[in-house]
């Protein structure tokens, strides 16, 4: 099976750069599966897990927004942050989730606070999801 180069880049550094077989990401319009030879494409990403497979090995990253660029020779993921399942602090993510939920239930807040809590909740759930999927394997 042919492979392609996957690069995950955050503002701080190049997180990942290796050959992979396939990639599954969540774009703004829905899920995308990408194999080698995909047509060049650019799409923004949602706050969601990013899963890819190299040989038998599957890896999942928690991606916090960003976008995906598919080129003829490689695929680049530009994310605000990208964390491997093993690097995620689950307790912290759970605490963040509870905090965000509390804020969302508290209706008296203004619009921006609400929006912020919503985003925080998304990020926390994403982290929890990725870390739990990592444990199963």
């Amino acid at each position: 099976m042919s492979t392609f180069l996957l690069e995950i880049v955050t503002p701080e550094r190049l997180v990942f750069s290796e050959q992979v077989d396939r990639l599954k990401a969540t774009g703004i319009d829905g899920e995308l599966g990408i194999l080698a030879g995909h047509i060049p494409m650019v799409t923004p990403l949602k706050v969601a897990p990013l899963a890819f497979q190299a040989g038998k090995q599957r890896t999942t990253y928690a991606i916090q927004g960003g976008f995906l660029e598919v080129r003829a020779d490689k695929v680049v993921v530009l994310a605000d942050s990208a964390e491997k399942a093993s690097d995620i602090d689950v307790d912290r993510a759970r605490a963040a989730k509870e905090r965000a939920e509390r804020r969302l239930n508290n209706r008296s807040q203004d619009h921006t606070d609400f929006r912020r809590a919503e985003l925080a909740l998304q990020r926390a759930m994403n982290r929890i999801k990725v870390s739990s999927s990592g444990e199963n394997r």
Partner: protein, 289 residues
């Protein structure tokens, strides 16, 4: 004479202590400089990538419009100033702040024609003392800030432009040339120069955009602007360490020189005291004969 000698000795001791501190600071700054430079280097792929994509969209699709690319009549201007939290960095803060103040004085006549976003305690204190309109501040950053540290500020700065609160966003920071040289620079971040983004002709691939080129651009451009702000911050941090290293290096050198001079004075005084003592003894002895 003996009293004068003790005085000099104390002074020497005091300068030696100062030298010890400046020397330590120089070495700390040197090692931090290396790390800060690495950080700035590591951040480059991200912004390069973004520019590449933005450029390819801008060049690939004709007639695309986005408020961040269009110049509009300038009524209000925002400045984002990057300074340090701590002093003892030579002219690091003074240079960039002088630069901004001069620009503001030149372009604006009243305080409601501009607003300020400030990174760093030194800048905050400076503008506060002069009661200039500060919109948002981030201070007490670590020496190696993460993107998350300034994300809120960067977002606010870009959003203000998008909402039309101001018509230009300028970025002021110390550009890092080498450890000895930092140039205070003032660049226009928004609206972006279409030319600057379009001249990257190397990217020829025509992309599919999901959902559409406009939508992708709408996500990309603010992000790109924020990344540039982050890069400026990293470069500013590297400059800060460089400036501190240079300043502390010359402080150490001055201290060494001062100690040398004082030692010379001290030895002269000591010699004079001994000579005088001998003269007194000789004079006393010859008086008895």
């Amino acid at each position: 004479m003996a009293k004068g000698m003790r005085e000099i000795k104390r002074q020497i001791k005091s300068v030696q202590n100062t030298r010890q501190i400046t020397k330590a600071m120089e070495m700390v700054a040197a090692s931090k400089l290396r790390k800060a430079q690495e950080k700035a280097q590591a951040a480059r792929p991200y912004s390069d990538k973004l520019r590449e994509v933005v450029a390819s969209i801008a060049s690939g699709t004709k007639g695309i419009h986005h408020p961040m690319l269009d110049t509009r009549p300038v009524k209000r201007v925002a400045y984002l100033v990057v300074t340090s939290d701590r002093g003892l960095a030579g002219g690091y803060n003074a240079n960039v702040l002088r630069h901004v103040s001069a620009e503001i004085r030149k372009r604006h006549t009243s305080a409601d024609q501009y607003e300020l976003f400030v990174i760093g305690r030194k800048g905050r204190d400076y503008f506060r003392r002069r009661s200039m309109p500060i919109t948002e501040v981030v201070a007490e950053l670590s020496d190696f800030p993460t993107y998350a540290d300034i994300k809120t500020l960067a977002q606010a700065a870009v959003q203000g432009y998008e909402e039309g609160r101001y018509d230009e966003l300028h970025l002021c920071y110390n550009q890092f040339v080498n450890p000895l040289t930092q140039i205070p620079t003032l660049t226009r971040l928004l609206p972006m120069d279409a030319l600057e983004t379009a001249d990257q002709g190397s990217v020829k691939a025509s992309y599919e955009y999901e959902p559409s080129a406009e939508d992708v651009l709408a996500v990309l451009l603010p992000r790109y602007a924020q990344t540039l702000i982050y890069n400026a911050l990293l470069e500013g941090k590297a400059s800060e360490q460089g400036a501190r290293m240079t300043a502390m290096g010359s402080a150490t050198k001055n201290a060494s020189q001062l100690i040398g001079d004082l030692k010379l004075v001290y030895n002269r005084a000591r010699q004079a005291a001994i000579t005088q003592e001998i003269t007194e003894i000789v004079a006393g002895a010859s008086a008895q004969n």
